[in-house]
């Protein structure tokens, strides 16, 4: 599904990804780990088509995520580590998502409720004004409602309390079939029961890739 071929990405003289090659296939539930600056975020941003590689390529179902970004992104859900300060209200954000990605707003509400987020009472509130945990819950609900084949989570539980984390992993278990699930995480113990593959990065290289 995701093919990364000899990918090199430099920022000035700093090499963030150094000739990385890796494949992620259906039913791979991956924990992507490594110290800060190892290149994890650069790798997922390259998969999302945000970076122009210096060398090598990324393809998703045979498509280029830069040149065919709309087709590629139809099938990817992404939750960033820190929820961005989006100034739109929740209803406007949901409108953006439902129009652009054809996501059912009722499904977002359903998953929000499952995440114990009282979404109906907050529809006119700015996303920016929600607490860190509420924002993260909403982004997770959106990612699940989008029904993508590829789900990328960059430290998704950073703002969640233990109960919300349990809800999140329960929902994930129910929705993981026939997907690629890519977790960027520093806490393997949290996702150990979900992942079946552990990838370690260091200084822009993949230093280990184990299937469990």
């Amino acid at each position: 599904m995701i093919k990364v071929n000899n990918l090199t990405k430099k920022f000035g003289s700093h090499v963030s990804l150094d000739n990385v090659s890796i494949d992620f296939n259906k039913n791979d539930y991956i924990a992507l780990m490594g110290a800060n600056g190892a290149g994890k975020t650069t790798l997922i941003r390259s998969i999302l088509g945000y970076y122009h590689p210096n060398e090598g390529s990324v393809s998703i179902d045979g498509l280029d995520p830069i040149k065919q970004r709309m087709k590629v992104l139809e099938n990817i859900s992404f939750v960033p580590q820190l929820p961005p300060p989006i100034k739109l209200s929740i209803s406007e954000l949901m409108q953006y998502i439902s129009v652009s990605a054809n996501v059912d707003q009722e499904l977002i509400k359903h998953y929000s409720n499952e995440m114990k987020l009282a979404i109906n009472e907050n529809m006119n509130k700015s996303f920016f004004a929600l607490s860190g945990g509420m924002k993260q819950k909403l982004l997770i609900a959106i990612s699940l409602a989008k029904k993508s084949d590829i789900i990328i989570y960059d430290e998704p539980t950073a703002n969640l309390d233990p109960k919300a984390r349990d809800d999140f992993y329960r929902l994930l278990k129910q929705n993981e079939d026939e997907k690629v699930l890519l977790f960027v995480t520093h806490r393997l113990e949290e996702v150990e029961t979900i992942v079946n593959r552990q990838v370690y990065m260091e200084l822009g290289k993949i230093i280990s890739d184990e299937t469990i």
Partner: protein, 275 residues
Amino acid sequence: MKNLYLIAYLDLKESIRAKWFLVYSLVFGGLIALFFIAGVTESQVMGFSGLSRLLLMYIQVTIVILPIFILITTVRSISGDRDNHVLEYMLSFPISLKQYYWGKIIGRFITVYLPVLLAMIIAIIYGTIKGASIPWNIFFLYTGLLFSMSSAFLGIAFFISSFVKSSEVALGIAFFVWIVLLSFIDIALISLMMSQRMSTELIIFIAMVNPMEIFRVAAISLFDPELTVMGPVAYYILDSMKQTTFVFVSMAYPISLGLVFSFLGFQIFRRKDLV
């Protein structure tokens, strides 16, 4: 197309709620109100009176403050979203870069143009109620000039926003652009250049490529070219070019400039790393 309108609509809604928009609207609406309160319409200085005088004063102040307002509020549009990772999330949905960029431009254009236009309409309505004669030729000329100047600075702002990584740097560049262009509408500076025996063609060329100077000259082009407030360059331009031709140029040139900068900005935006 639906995504383009969606981005424009949401950007418009977001901008209207922002504090800067409130200040922006209050400044332009407040200017008109202030002119009425100060009795500008009743005064008569250098041949201008009534609503003509009010609109002329409004436009003279607008020359200075509209570009900087547009620049500082718009220049952070894309660079700010990039800076605070909003772009990273919003572009993780299937929106093309073209839709995102041009949608933002459309939304932002409506946001910056509407308050200045409404301020003028308020002046006309208030003037009608007061029984003043309406200078429609001035109203339509200024409406067009404001449209074209808004286009020019919006394009320049989006161009800056597309290549700058941090919004602070974008703001710095915006201020620099404004100061440079403002310096070249200053009659004293142009007079100084003339006294330095620079060629007339060069001075006129510098004045003509500056959208702020074009705007200034066009705004007073309906009046007597002998007026001293015009300055030497305006006098020279209006003396050597037909007034209707110059008005056409003064609208077509800033719009073209805005489009060229917007297009260049888009090319940079789509070729650069997005975050």
